[in-house]
Symmetry: C2
Subunit: 128 residues, 2 copies
């Protein structure tokens, strides 16, 4: 039995939820999705390859920015439709906004407060 056989891709139309954590700090960096091919590719290359729901293609995170995510560990949940991936985040930022984590806003007294660390300027990295 291969590791991928424990994963239930059918439950949500071919996709599982992938929660990515910074292995160094334990912070949640981002959440995205994987189909079976992206999970296989992730194991093969040792870097996280998601499935882009909007672009409908494999998404090797960091390919354009250089900010790839080196896999340190993968955990699967009880019903096999979600994984937690701990990574070494190259460049120190996972979010396209240049923040370290996509979860940079926290609810406080009824407002979303931006408390994220700005690691890079997206204009410099993505050129737009």
């Amino acid at each position: 039995m291969e590791p991928i056989d424990a994963i239930d891709f059918e439950k949500a139309g071919g996709l599982i939820t992938a929660i990515t954590l910074d292995d160094a700090t334990g912070d949640v960096l981002m959440v995205a999705y994987m189909n079976s091919e992206s999970f296989r590719r992730t194991l093969e290359v040792g870097e996280v390859v998601y499935w882009s729901r909007s672009r409908k293609c494999l998404w090797h995170k960091g390919e354009s920015s250089g900010f790839t995510q080196r896999v340190k560990s993968i955990q699967i949940d009880c019903d096999g439709d979600a994984v937690v991936i701990r990574v070494e985040q190259r460049g120190g930022a996972a979010c396209h906004t240049g923040k370290r984590s996509c979860f940079y806003r926290r609810l406080e007294d009824g407002e979303w407060i931006d408390e994220g660390e700005q690691v890079f300027d997206p204009k410099e990295v993505y050129g737009s």
Copy 2:
């Protein structure tokens, strides 16, 4: 503007992804989904109320088991379709299997290793 206005429920058919962390340890306890009503109820009651995709109803986590999740903080991601909720997990376990976290299996040398902490016996808690 209300906090809920920053959330994009439309992107995934009315649901957002909710990632729940143990506030004491930082561990990912579970991942589930919320619609707008469940997010509102969560803020009102101060405990996590998900939307059950299988039962198609509000799911006040721990109502039957007593293992409710008291909200400590809520973070939202860059595109507003996922939240990270840090909680105080009553009873010390989030998973219906009695494990502390739903993510109790980790990939090691091509196999999923069970390394989860068994907090309760599901037969005693759920009576079946």
